[in-house]
Amino acid sequence: MSDIILKGDKNGFSVIIDAKANYDSAFKELKELIMRQNVKSTTEDDDVIKFTIKTGNRLLNDDQKNSIRDFFDKFPQLELKDIQADVESKQKVAEILKENKTNVESGIVRSGQKLDYEGDLIFLGNLHRDAQICATGSVYVLGQVNGIVQAGYPDKTDAVVFGNLKDVDQLRIADVIEIVTDDNKDDFQAGKYAYIDDLHSISVDDLQNYKR
């Protein structure tokens, strides 16, 4: 039984490396497979064969990936499109989970205090003047807020801020800062949400128009 399977589809060829197989022998087999194709150096440059390596439940480390890339580089007619795995490293998964986490915070954030969150934030507490809450995702405000509310830190422009924001000093989404004054505070009310519009400035819309 072979450790690797060669498959062809409309995007070119896929080489599936069995996740249970010994990697070194599988890599050797892959080399032999490619050599066996007896690829001649043709003069037709456009006839490049594209390969994708799929490793299933195995995650290759950088050295392994580089050795495959180096190997393919020796054949000008072969192009290695990608090395894909069905899994991610624990670290990366933790990051993804963190990014999509919804934090719930209550209590008082006082002057001079700043709370940072990864992911979305549901803020039930009170935000005092000169205090700041900062989330990498969207922010949902339910309590009394006076300070600075930052969503989508530092550059997530699709983050939004929900809730009654008319008393905040500043509303920040990604890199856009809106100073809330007596003139525009009536725009920021409960039942509305603030987002970054196509002109890259902060706009307000009714909640029912919110689309994720």
Binding site: I108, R110, S111, G112, Q113, N126, H128, R129, D130, A131
Partner: protein, 265 residues
């Protein structure tokens, strides 16, 4: 073993020293053994408010630098028998001669001898403040009914909350102007208390007598005609666990005859 209580505010001029002096004297008059510690190095004035300046021989810096022991540096207030002492600040030394460890040692030693160690904190939230609050068991946060003072108090409460003191910080709203309350132009007491979110220990109105008493080296708390003095009496009694209702002077507007006839309900 007594407890140490720091009187702090963040902002200057809100009445930290006056509060320290008045609360301490009332506690002493109620039979508690009280020691006031002035940590406002270089700008000391608790001694002046108490009228004890002429009695100071050694100060807290002398103690911290082991020139004298604590008991030698204590100044006794003759008005309160053996109940009230002051450990004065130095007017000459640099404030950086004190650190958390030395202040902590002194306060812990005082706590063995006294029921209450009242620490008068310098304004600001820098070095001197850190020294003062780091060794306190509890805090009295003094604020005035104005935006700047409440904002600074908010900052201070935030810092104090992070320190997890054994006793939660309590609030004293000082220098309330009666006429502004009546006009409705002052910040409302309830709003301040709700905003800061810490228990209210008492409110003190702004009175000329407070300053007059300080100028003469006495505390207003023993002026039986003074509302502010009464407030300080109540604050000290509440600290001892008595439940005394807050006098929020819910002043009803005087309604004249025509107001009664055509008055809005």
């Amino acid at each position: 073993m007594g407890i140490s209580i720091v009187v702090t505010s963040g902002k200057g001029g809100v009445g930290k020293t006056t509060t320290t002096a008045n609360v301490s004297t009332v506690l002493a008059s109620l039979g508690k053994k009280v020691c006031m510690v002035d940590l406002d190095i270089g700008l000391r004035n608790l001694d002046a408010v108490m009228g004890l300046t002429n009695r100071i021989v050694y100060n807290i810096v002398d103690v911290a630098q082991h020139r004298v022991v604590v008991s030698q540096a204590l100044v006794r207030d003759p008005h309160f028998e053996d109940n009230l002492y002051l450990l004065a600040a130095s007017q000459f030394a640099d404030k950086y001669v004190l650190d958390k460890a030395s202040v902590g040692n002194i306060v812990n030693e005082l706590k063995q001898r006294f029921d209450f160690v009242m620490i008068d904190c310098p304004a600001g939230i820098e070095y001197g403040f850190q020294n003062a609050v780091s060794i306190a068991d509890g805090a009295l946060v003094v604020t005035n009914p104005e935006v700047a003072s409440v904002s600074d108090a908010d900052r201070v409460v935030g810092i104090l909350e992070n320190m997890n003191m054994p006793i939660t910080p309590h609030l004293i709203i000082n220098r309330i102007r009666k006429n502004m309350i009546n006009d409705g132009t002052s910040m409302k007491i309830d709003d301040i208390v709700n905003h800061l979110g810490i228990p209210l220990l008492g409110i003190v109105i702004d009175e000329d007598k407070v300053i007059a008493a300080s100028n003469s080296g006495r505390t207003v708390a023993f002026d039986s005609y003074s509302d502010a003095g009464k407030s300080y009496q109540n604050i000290a009694r509440r600290m001892l666990g008595e439940s005394i209702p807050l006098d929020l002077f819910n002043h009803t507007k005087k309604v004249g005859f025509w107001g009664k006839v055509f008055g809005r309900k």
